[in-house]
């Protein structure tokens, strides 16, 4: 291959699209650059202290937490996806979407709910004492939830849907033919799962697990509640208590570097594999279970839904009713907070989906080549926002947002002759941009995976028939991508709605979202009102989650 050709291949996605993707990745790079700048301009005087007394323990805790959550979400997510895809039992249809419900429960709310439920004076232990005739919690107590094991369990039961979602789509759209072939060739059900379905699902599992792990890594609310000293907590305390923003940026950038290396390794390890399928998508034929087997399958399937959604949601509902009985009403400001949340989350979803589509399209492969195109590099860069803790991203965004503000301000002054106030920083626009940069990884990743399932020959054919790049996207790929677009949109919406740290730092005056409202209640100690806001977040997250849950079913139905 000569050099010019290779150079041209870097623009495989089309020069216009690649340039657009490039601009978008610059947007994501801006906060990183600004953080890198502060990291470089700090002293390293804290490092010996941090290395000796903070980081070893924080790193150890973080690794244990990640390993635990990783194993749990893989087992729960993949297991549940296989269960509802490969087997037929009473209640299966409902279970297929119910398994996604824990997605509506943010990590800080699950921690807060279970802390209350499992507390020695909470209902569970009270019941146990009543049954066994203990008089006071001093005579009998269960182990405290505030432990590493508690953290792993709680994070695991709300984060597994990321894995469930991606693997289920994979099982439904990809596995059917191969699995039936394996069955015909006499493979046992276990063998089908371990030797065909699991390897097939590997990219999907990787996508889901990495989302769950990034969320675990960047969590701060639940860690604070549960007293787990993770690296993200170390970043936070280095910045806030040790008053060393540069030091915090240094730790954060190091963490980011490690994350990037891990993601690259994971991708490289399955670089040569191709999963595109030219056959029509159709669901596999589930094995019918009956009797005890059906009961066990049902119990297994419903357990994570129970722990991750039904129990905490019922608890919040109970607290809310108690609150309404005590006080009489829900405050009107809470409704405003709900409206604000809806507004920013929708705007962010729209922007994130559109930008993600541009990036993923620029990064697509439609020729067999191993040279990474510029578009693919842009796609990797665009996903970095999700790999940083929200607070850190928000600090990094301050300066870029201000620069954007100055630029726009000068433009407006030029056109209208008036000087402006800040129009980006500390406004809803700034907030929407922050969400977009943070969650672009979700949409880009989802669209890339979606595009990878569409065989390159489709685009080759379209192009041979004289269609343009844009036309191919519009007329061939967009319709095929619809399920992915819906799924990504819902995920981004739910995530944006739950987002707390960046919102706290960047929001305009007098503006509450449901998450900041809840946080405010929690900081003031009015927990009962907090439960109302928490329930509102869960309910608001429910609608998109249910819609989301219907998408993979639709894939199956339309195609069959």
């Amino acid at each position: 291959m000569n050099r010019t050709l290779r150079w041209l291949y870097r623009f495989e996605g089309g020069i216009g699209w690649t340039s657009a993707a490039f601009v978008i990745s610059l947007l994501v790079l801006a906060p990183l650059a600004s953080l890198g700048w502060s990291a470089l301009h700090g002293t390293t005087q804290h490092w010996s202290h941090l290395m000796n007394h903070v980081l070893p323990n924080a790193t150890f805790n973080t690794l244990i937490l990640l390993a635990g959550v990783g194993i749990l979400v893989t087992c729960l997510g993949t297991g549940a996806a296989w269960l509802v895809t490969a087997y037929e039992f009473p209640g299966r249809r409902m279970l297929t979407w119910a398994l996604l419900l824990p997605l509506a429960v943010p990590t800080y709310i699950i921690a807060f709910s279970y802390l209350d439920l499992m507390h020695p004076i909470g209902p569970v232990q009270e019941a146990i004492r009543w049954v066994f005739g203990y008089q006071s919690p001093r005579e009998f107590r269960l182990p405290d939830m505030r432990s590493m094991l508690g953290a792993i369990l709680l994070l695991g039961v709300v984060l597994y849907p990321y894995v469930y979602l991606s693997t289920r789509v994979m099982f439904m759209s990809q596995a059917a033919n191969l699995i039936e072939a394996a069955r015909c060739l006499g493979e046992s059900p276990r063998g089908v799962f371990l030797r065909v379905a699991l390897p097939l699902a590997r990219p999907a599992i990787a996508v889901g697990v990495s989302l769950a792990l990034l969320e675990t890594l960047n969590d701060i609310g639940a860690s604070e509640f549960l007293g787990i000293q993770t690296l993200t907590v170390a970043v936070y305390t280095t910045w806030v208590t040790r008053s060393d923003l540069a030091g915090a940026a240094q730790i954060a950038m190091t963490m980011l570097a490690v994350v990037v290396v891990l993601i690259v390794i994971e991708r490289k390890s399955r670089d040569r594999q191709r999963y595109a399928n030219t056959q029509r998508m159709r669901p596999m034929q589930p094995t019918k279970l009956s009797g005890l087997q059906a009961v066990i399958a049902g119990l297994l399937g419903w357990a994570p839904v129970m722990v991750g959604f039904i129990i905490p949601a019922s608890y919040l509902l109970y607290e809310t009713i108690k609150r309404i009985n005590l006080v009489g009403s829900i405050s009107r400001q809470l409704l405003f907070a709900g409206w604000n949340t809806l507004l920013v989350a929708s705007a962010a979803t729209l922007l994130t989906v559109v930008l993600g589509l541009v990036v993923a399209w620029a990064a697509r492969r439609w020729r067999e080549t191993r040279t990474p195109s510029l578009g693919q590099t842009c796609a990797r860069v665009s996903s970095l926002g999700y790999a940083l803790p929200g607070t850190v991203l928000a600090i990094g965004l301050l300066t870029p947002l201000l620069l954007l503000d100055h630029g726009l301000g000068q433009l407006v002054t030029l056109v209208t002759g008036h000087s402006t106030e800040l129009i980006i920083l500390g406004t809803m626009t700034g907030l929407v941009l922050a969400y977009t940069i943070r969650f672009l990884a979700i949409s880009t990743g989802s669209f890339e995976a979606g595009l990878a399932r569409i065989p390159a020959s489709l685009e080759q054919a379209a192009r041979l028939l004289g269609e343009s790049t844009t036309g191919t996207l519009k007329r061939v790929h967009l319709p095929l991508l619809m399920p992915a677009i819906a799924a990504a949109g819902m995920l981004v919406f739910v995530d944006a709605m739950k987002e707390l740290p960046a919102t706290l730092m960047l929001r305009p005056m007098n503006m509450e979202t449901l998450a900041t409202w809840l946080y405010g209640e929690a900081s003031r100690g009015t927990y009962e009102e907090g439960a109302v806001a928490a329930l509102a977040i869960v309910i608001a997250g429910l609608a998109p989650v249910i819609l989301l849950a219907r998408t993979p079913q639709r894939i199956g139905r339309n195609a069959s």
Partner: protein, 345 residues
């Protein structure tokens, strides 16, 4: 073509968003803009009565952390007028980062003792918050020193939030100011050895965990006890509050209790500076200071402000005489000590 449609839509959307956000941001001259690290609803009654008196509307944003970074970045265009925070260290940080401006106000100078405000008018204390001991009611504990918390008799009986939290950081810094670094390290190791559970959660969790039988005593700010003890009957908070008695610990040497502050500064580029000063002056009026005690159970900074019954029931408060600005000098050492001892691990 799809691209141009997408482009067109996104331009429309962004224009709409810009218009919206600019409209949201446009504060009128009759306003005062408050950036606070305190939950604004805590001081809402104060702000509402300020608005009722002066007709000046208060716009608030609760920035949990990163207030300094945000104001600093916003620079000359920052809409912030008043910056409000808790903890002496955080207040001094505002001044150190150059986001405040000096003001001169006779009212403020008269109301606030001189060691509780910056000498150049860069920061002002608005209320006092004592860090006290919550103890299981049945213990009938009458008095205790902070030093006593490390005594082995409390082994497995102490609850506390993270040692890196500003409230504990300031207390540990104060301990260093009293007893020196070496003694404080010994003390902190002793407290660590006495912990019933990992340092986690907030101050109210101490009361809850005492009721839950996890621990017998714990450190927390006094106003939380006031809030819990006066919560509506039947609420969880009320039950937690009723499980504890508040004991005001003292430093062995001075016999005084550690008191931190909440306070405020006028922002460097305050667009409504006059209103900002008016707000601060209102907050130290007799009326507002009385409300601090009544609504928040914080001690008024102004002597002679009306007293509050629940606070009085905690007994007399003898404030430790060590100047807070001296305490603040040991903040970094205190934070490093917490790491060295592995207090939070």
């Amino acid at each position: 073509m799809k691209k141009s449609i997408l482009l067109c839509h996104s331009i429309k959307a962004s224009l709409l968003a810009l218009t919206l956000s600019t409209a949201m941001n446009a504060a009128s001259a009759q306003d005062v803009n408050l950036y606070t690290t305190r939950e604004p609803k805590l001081i809402l009654p104060l702000l509402e009565s300020f608005t009722a008196k002066t007709g000046i509307k208060v716009n608030t944003v609760f920035v949990k952390s990163g207030l300094i970074e945000r104001v600093k970045t916003e620079g000359e265009k920052s809409p912030a007028d008043v910056l409000m925070t808790v903890d002496i260290g955080n207040l001094l940080d505002l001044v150190d980062h150059g986001v405040t401006q000096p003001i001169a106000s006779k009212t403020l100078d008269e109301a606030i003792p001189s060691h509780l405000r910056g000498q150049d008018g860069q920061w002002y204390t608005l209320s006092l918050r004592d860090r006290v001991l919550y103890a299981d009611k049945s213990l009938q504990l009458q008095s205790i020193t902070y030093e006593d918390l490390a005594h082995p008799k409390w082994k497995g009986k102490v609850c506390i939030r993270s040692g890196q939290h500003p409230y504990n950081n300031a207390l540990i810094a104060s301990m260093i100011a009293h007893n020196g670094l070496e003694q404080t390290e010994k003390w902190l190791r002793g407290v660590k050895a006495n912990l019933a559970r990992k340092p986690a959660g907030g101050d109210r969790d101490v009361a809850r965990d005492i009721l839950g039988g996890i621990c017998d005593i714990g450190l927390a700010n006094a106003y939380y006890a006031g809030q819990m003890k006066t919560s509506a009957p039947g609420t969880d908070a009320r039950k937690w509050g009723e499980a504890i008695t508040v004991v005001r610990p003292t430093f062995a040497k001075s016999g005084g209790t550690f008191v931190n502050i909440s306070g405020a500064s006028v922002a460097k580029y305050a667009p409504n500076k006059d209103n900002a000063v008016k707000l601060l002056e209102y907050l130290v009026s007799d009326e507002a200071q009385g409300m601090y005690a009544k609504a928040n159970f914080e001690y008024p900074v102004k002597s002679g402000a009306p007293k509050e019954a629940t606070l009085e029931s905690f007994g007399p408060l003898k404030v430790d005489p060590t100047p807070l600005t001296d305490v603040a000098k040991f903040r970094k050492q205190a934070s490093e000590l917490v790491d060295r001892v592995g207090f939070d691990q």
